[in-house]
Amino acid sequence: MILDRTRPLFIRLLLLVVLVLVPPVAWIAHQATGEFSRGLIPEMDKKAEAIGRDLEQSIERAVGYGIPLDQLQGMDQFFAPVLAANPEIRYLAVTDRAGKVLFIEGAERSVLEAVYGGADFAAGTEHSRKLALGGFIDLAQPLAIKGARIGHIHVGMDQDYVGGRLQEILVDLAVVTLGALLVAVEILLFVVTFNITGPMRVVGTVMERVRRGDFSCSAGVTSDDEVGRFVHGFNGAIRLADQLFRRLEAYIDEVKAAHFDAGVVEKVKDIESRVRFLFRFARNGRPEIVNEHQATDIRLPLFLFVFAEEISRSFMPLYIRDLYAPIPGLTPELAMGLPIALFMLVIALASPSASLLANRLGARRVFLIGLVPATIGFVMSALAVTIYDLIAWRAATALGYAFITMACQGYIAQVSQQQTRTQGLGVYVGAVLTASVCGTGIGGVLAERVGFRVTFLVAGALTVITAVLIWRLLDSTQPQAEGPSPRKRDFLRLLRNWRFSALVAFAAIPAKMALTGFLFFLVPLTLSQNPSLDLGDVARMMMAYPVSVVLLSPLVARFADRVGWRVGLVAAGGLLGGAGLVLPAFWDEPVLAVQAAILLLGVSHGLSASPQLAMIPDLCWTECRAIGQTNVLAFLRLAERIGSFAGPLLAAALIPLYGHQGAIVALGWLVLGMAAVFALLSFAYHAGPHIETEWGE
């Protein structure tokens, strides 16, 4: 099962973009960090000096009121907030004229006593001075009352701080570069497929028909570039053959009408019928225009839209927390889980009708219709006042999301024949996952630099760009009337297939529960409690999920195709994901444990996602035959959204009971338990009659 036909092209373009973009970015980054560190050190000095002066004034004021320097009170509480607000400052100290340490906060007294006590220091200066002290830079400023020096205030800066800051900026830069790379590749891929490979495929189709003697068509490419000119010439050649035939036909008609020799007429008629048998020409002289749609046409718009949605991934719960207002009858945590849960619910409820609509109105129109609520949702989310209207705007976005994803799936289904449908679905999954990687990472960096609200506006702008792309570039496909949609009873029959029900209940639902409850909801909330992590860090940690799914999915798909051990992969994936969530209970490093859990969840879904889908034809082949494989898959998607909806609410309900960390673990036990049930059931999967019958055919 090849997931994505454009994959080889994608990888080649990615390599190209990496070669072109990464060296200059790296060079600029290198230069910039040099500048930055040169610029940062004097800035830090200035800041330390300003802080020192501030403290100096307060102390001098107190001493000026007659409090002896060594009897200043509450110096620890006086220094503590300054240290807390300035991470680059490691300690603050006051020494007397002899260099004796009177007060110190943030470092060991004895360490500094030795240095200050030196004769050199006691000699005293009337100006501030800097000295290196192991890992610290000590800035000493004199304290004076009426011109008489009474001691020094010391501000100790952390030398590692600059390095840490630089590293942070470099990591941010790397994330943005990665995002930019992927965006560039998506755009290149679009340009190449839209302008070159697409037209070439059309030419190929026409050529194939010509090879079979069919001159009735011409390639519908109208661009005014090399490709367009080539296609124009190619079409000209076909037209010429077509005209030549018409002239021949006219001549034959003339001969048939004018010749008296019946034998000749017979011969000519024979030739005519031979020609007509071997070749086909346009009936009325007007050629049939061949236009070929392909799944990749919709890839860039889909990518941009999902990008826009994923931008808020790393901070959505935090934004909700900012807007929190009590909702009667709900605990604060549940209220905070509500926008995410309802988002999922609206998608689930709107998807079936969106899918029907996409079949009826065509993908292009439904995509454009969906962009309206989505854009409004993003822009108004940026302007939201309370949690109430945020819920409304998120619901609008969810409605758009349902329309757009269904439109894309419908488009792909229409343009790809049955055989290439899996490949087409690969295009879909590829675009969604790449967008997820970019959106999560870039969204985190953006939100950290410009704030939540502006980031939402960026998402709104992206959807507008998407709309323009769709409007200008995508031809409307002919809406195809699909077979009558299956009735509810058919779906109930599907649920009676215990293998399918078990897959839904114990594999698909817990997987989604872990995704929305843990990754979308608990991770941002839990990590934001750690003051050493900023939004960018949280987003980077969350990126581990889509990155591992992206990397693992195609490999697993190939592996599963070869080995055929799909149930096992799904079971193993589920257990791994659940085990990851339980990890924080056994690991003292909470941040590392959460990171590992995110990574394992990615591995888990990478392992189980494509085998889960690939299992369906084997698992319920009778149902697939009765209601169509597409419908069975759609039903699976719909059913697993129960998990998407329940995830945030469940997680929210667990927070008051066990705390944030504990809620992750509790959710983990639940997911692990369900995965274990599936693993046990999976042993029975092969024993049933279904698969044997399938293989018997």
Binding site: R61, G64, Y65, G66, L72, Q73, G74, M75, F78
Partner: protein, 341 residues
């Protein structure tokens, strides 16, 4: 003369208000009847200055009872006769006598139809109003006492206290309430309260007994002496604070006078001037914004003033923590003289 000042003030305000005044031809200044208890002081000044600063034309009719309860009846009659727009009452006695208690206001004896604002009332709840959220009648006002919890926190932030002393006048309800509250907080947070009433003779508290009580407090080895917002102790503040200073007992005052004009070491108060301004703001809401007084909650200024009396601190040698120093208004009269020759 006073009349002239108010007229000039009103004229200035009119000029300042410019187009607003022009849009309302012949806008008359609001007539406010100010009933005071012991003369013109900071709260009254803050009240007056607010209108000047906001450019609201007012005509102030100022009456001072001079601590004579008998005069207040005439004030009520005069305010009614003058048909003023608003009445301002200063202090618990003036407010309760002129506005009536919340459950027994009498249109014949009290001001009921004219809207009123009160200031410097120690315990308005259960007195002039039933609750702070609404007076449920035609008055509103401001608080001037810092909540007892805040005061205790302030003392604790200076030095942790195990035993807190207090001298009070048993005839004043304010002081009794303060003693009870202090005792309650002490029991809840773990410190002991030694509250001693001054001696009473012939229905009057004896100033001579103050020093004796302070000595008793000293013998009880208290960490701090709490000075309640007590009229008797306010008048005799020099005796009280000097006695404490003689025994080197650090003192905390709930009102500004003992710190600012006497020898209490430290205090946490809402300045009278700020209280006056807040009261004027409420008057503005009634007169200009036309909000019903019962819809205006009764509250205290946002900003707490921490006062530290530096000469006393130096004499006792109990230095304030740096954080408090940064927040406090330092009172250092000797230094002020040095700085401003």
């Amino acid at each position: 003369m006073r009349r002239l000042v108010t007229l000039i003030l009103a004229a200035c305000a009119l000029a300042l208000s410019g187009p607003a005044g022009a849009a309302e031809p012949g806008a008359k200044p609001f007539r406010i009847y100010m009933a005071l208890w012991r003369g013109w002081e900071d709260a009254a000044q803050g009240f007056k200055d607010y209108f000047a600063n906001q450019g609201i034309p007012v005509e102030l009719i100022i009456r001072d009872a001079g601590q004579d309860k008998a005069k207040l009846k005439d004030f009520v009659a005069e305010a009614k006769a003058l048909k003023v727009d608003l009445v301002f009452t200063w202090g618990t006695t003036v407010s309760e006598e002129m506005l009536g208690r919340f459950d027994s206001a009498d249109p014949a004896r009290h001001i009921t139809d004219i809207p009123a604002v009160f200031a410097v009332v120690s315990q308005p709840v259960g007195g002039v109003v039933p609750s702070l959220s609404s007076s449920e009648r035609n008055i509103t006002g401001t608080l001037y006492l810092v909540p007892m919890e805040t005061q205790v926190n302030l003392i604790q932030s200076y030095r942790p206290v195990k035993r807190l002393g207090m001298v009070y006048n048993p005839l004043e309800r304010n002081s009794q309430v303060a003693a009870e509250q202090l005792d309650g907080i002490g029991k809840a947070t773990g410190f002991e309260v030694v509250a001693l009433p001054v001696d009473v003779a012939e229905g009057k508290p004896k100033p001579a007994s103050i020093a004796l009580k302070v000595a008793e407090i000293k013998a009880a080895r208290v960490d701090f002496l709490y000075i309640p917002p007590d009229t008797f102790l306010n008048i005799n503040r020099d005796i009280l604070t000097q006695a404490a200073l003689d025994h080197a007992i650090p003192t905390f005052a709930a009102a500004e006078n003992p710190v600012v004009t006497s020898k209490a070491m430290f205090g946490g108060v809402y300045r009278y001037y700020t209280v006056g301004q807040l009261t004027a703001y409420k008057a503005e809401q009634i007169l200009v914004r036309k909000i019903a007084p019962k819809d205006i909650p009764i509250d205290a200024p946002k900003r707490l003033s921490v006062l530290i009396n530096m000469p006393v601190v130096r004499q006792i040698g109990l230095f304030p923590p740096m954080k408090l120093m940064g927040l406090a208004e330092i009172i250092d009269r000797t230094e002020a003289k040095e700085n401003k020759p």
